[in-house]
Every structure is written in structure tokens, then in C-alpha cells.
């Protein structure tokens, strides 16, 4: 909690980030919510994860001690549809086991003009808004697995608030 806020604040003070950091790469983008302290931190994809993983991120819930590990994979090229997931203590595989993820669903990018895309490439500009479909109820249901209490509700929509280094 303290660290991401401090970093985000530092980034803001450094002047690197206007209100909408349109020139932030998606793989350095930090997203937040108006009504919660939850944050999504995107990061470059570890090449060891193989070609199937397109995006890597963590979800840092209120009072978090351990981030949930997020990934977007394109498991079936023909489907042309990504699968996003959030895991904790799951085996490190590019394609997550269906039973382990705390959340699995579709990640959409929403733009100011109302346009909607499936998860953009990690090196594309960070979209201003993300939807993680049905995230909040999954986080509430997974609460017992976090090893600590967090009862702050999480909404499914995040907005770009800072750009990491």
C-alpha cells in the first residue's frame, strides 16, 4: 500500500505523468480505482514465460502483503481471444490450471472515444481504462486464500493513474 502510493506520487511529482499518461507503455502502466486503493501494476513480460503470454501484471489489493499475479495469454490462436487471469501460489506455467486462478476472464481496454479493444500488446500505449470482467465478485470469493483480511470491495474497472519506471 505504502510503496505503490509513494512510487505513484513520486512519478507524479517528477512530472512524468500528466493526468492521463497517454504516452506510457502498457507494460509500465499503473491503474487505480476512485473508490478503492486497489492497483494494477503492469510490467514487461518475462521471456521465460514463452510466446503465449502477452501481458504481465500484479493486482495489489488494499493492505496487500502479496500481490496477485496477473497474466494475459492467447492460448488458442485461432480463437483470437485472450484469457486473463489472477493467481496466487499457482504453478508457474504460461497456461494457468483452470482450478487455481482466483479470477479468470476477459480483459478489455476502453478508450475515451468509446472504442473497446481486447487486451493490447504489452508495448502498445497504455489504454486509459481497463475492464476485468466480473473481477470484484471473484476477489470477494477468493478472500480466504490471500492469507490476510481485505474486505474493501473491488470494482471491475481501472483507470490509468501513473507510469512506472
Amino acid at each position: 500500500m505504502k510503496t505503490p502510493m509513494a512510487l505513484a506520487l513520486a512519478a507524479l511529482l517528477a512530472g512524468a505523468v500528466p493526468a492521463l499518461a497517454l504516452d506510457c507503455g502498457f507494460d509500465h502502466a499503473i491503474y487505480g480505482q476512485d473508490d478503492s486503493s486497489s492497483e494494477l501494476w503492469f510490467e514487461p513480460v518475462d521471456p521465460a514465460m514463452g510466446d503465449g503470454q502477452a501481458n504481465a501484471f500484479t493486482l495489489r489489493l488494499a493492505d496487500f502483503r502479496r500481490p496477485l499475479v496477473g497474466a494475459v495469454v492467447w492460448p488458442d490462436e485461432e480463437a483470437e481471444r485472450p484469457v486473463a487471469s489472477l493467481t496466487l501460489d499457482c504453478p508457474a506455467e504460461a497456461a494457468p490450471d483452470a482450478s487455481c486462478p482466483i479470477w479468470q476472464g476477459t480483459l478489455y481496454a476502453v478508450f475515451a472515444d468509446g472504442g473497446v479493444l481486447l487486451a493490447p500488446d504489452a508495448r502498445d500505449p497504455a489504454p486509459p481504462t481497463l475492464i476485468l470482467a466480473d473481477l470484484g465478485p471473484a476477489i470477494r470469493a477468493g478472500n480466504g486464500r490471500f492469507g490476510y483480511e481485505t474486505d474493501e470491495p473491488v470494482w471491475d474497472v481501472f483507470t490509468l493513474k501513473a507510469c512506472g519506471t
Binding site: E78, A79, E80, R81, G105, T106, Y108, V110, F111, A112, D113, G114, V116, P128, T129, I131, A133, D134, G136, P137, D156, V157, T159
Partner: protein, 168 residues
């Protein structure tokens, strides 16, 4: 290109009444999808519906003379607005007597629905409130694609539906 122009013409023709009237209640809204021209036609639930059903809608597929039937349900706040699209579910049985396999066979899509407003996403409005300019039926295209309804992947629809009319 020609079909695009035709679609554009149709879209423009259908769009005019919305702008003229400014707002359309959610329970009379008509939406269209960009890739295949699917249409959604919303209406209010009837008293035969479950108490948590907030909206009903038809899914109209170009070239298919039989609509699919959709419902939206939610409990305002705790869970999300969840949509289900079905066709040909057993009509000679009470819902409680329909088996999981029978439900699965007649269900074409299940997912959370969001209103797309001002570059963000919200819960859907009540039936008598203004319809949002667009709605997102999450994972709609992928599920329809694998539902057995289509002749091939090129017929896959997109997940976003844009307000293009109001049913009077």
C-alpha cells in the same frame, strides 16, 4: 466495401430517431453490433420471470429468422449484471426440472454486462432509465463462436453493442 456502405446507411437510418428523441429507456433500447450486424432488442421482464430478472432482450442474427432469447439479472451491488442467451430450451418442463445438460445445450452465452459510458464502464441502468450509448456483453463473440450456431469463425460477432434505435 459495398456491404460496409450498406451497413452504414442502415445504421444512419436507424440512428436518427435516437438523436431526435435524445434518450431512450433501457427497456425499449435497440443495439447493433459492428462486425456481423447482430441486433439486441430490450424489453421489460414479465411477471412470469424470476424476481431478479431486470431486463429481457432478443438477439437478432442477420440471416437467421429465429431470434435468441436473453435475460439480464442482478441483485444491485453484490453481484454483477449477468446476461444469459438461450434458444430452444425445453418448454414442456418447469425450469426446476430441466437438467444441467439440457440447460447447457440450449444456452449460447453467459456473461457479465456493462454499460459503456464516457470512456468507462458501469452497471446497467434500470429499465426506465436512459439506455447507455453502448453495452459490453463480455466474452459474447467467443462463446457464440463455439456455440455451434455459426458456420465458421468468420461469422464471429464482437462483444460491443451500440445504441442505434428505440422501440416505440
Amino acid at each position: 466495401m459495398k456491404s460496409t456502405l450498406t451497413a452504414l446507411a442502415v445504421t444512419l437510418a436507424l440512428t436518427a430517431p435516437v438523436f431526435a428523441e435524445d434518450v431512450c429507456p433501457m427497456e425499449r433500447a435497440l443495439y447493433t453490433e459492428r462486425d456481423q450486424g447482430y441486433g439486441l432488442s430490450f424489453f421489460a421482464p414479465t411477471n412470469r420471470d424470476m424476481a431478479n430478472t431486470s431486463l429481457r432482450f432478443f438477439v437478432v442474427r442477420p440471416g437467421d429468422d429465429r431470434n435468441l432469447s436473453g435475460t439480464i439479472s442482478g441483485n444491485m451491488g453484490v453481484s454483477r449484471d449477468t446476461g444469459v442467451v438461450r434458444r430452444d430450451c425445453p418448454e414442456d418442463k418447469a425450469p426446476a426440472d430441466i437438467t444441467d445438460a439440457e440447460w447447457e445445450a440450449c444456452t449460447y452465452w453467459t456473461g457479465v454486462v456493462y454499460a459503456l459510458v464516457d470512456g468507462g464502464a458501469e452497471m446497467l441502468p434500470f429499465g426506465d432509465e436512459p439506455a447507455p450509448p453502448a453495452i459490453l456483453l463480455t466474452d459474447f463473440g467467443r462463446q457464440i463462436r463455439y456455440s455451434g450456431l455459426l458456420d465458421g469463425p468468420a461469422e464471429t460477432p464482437w462483444d460491443v453493442f451500440t445504441l442505434n434505435g428505440c422501440r416505440w
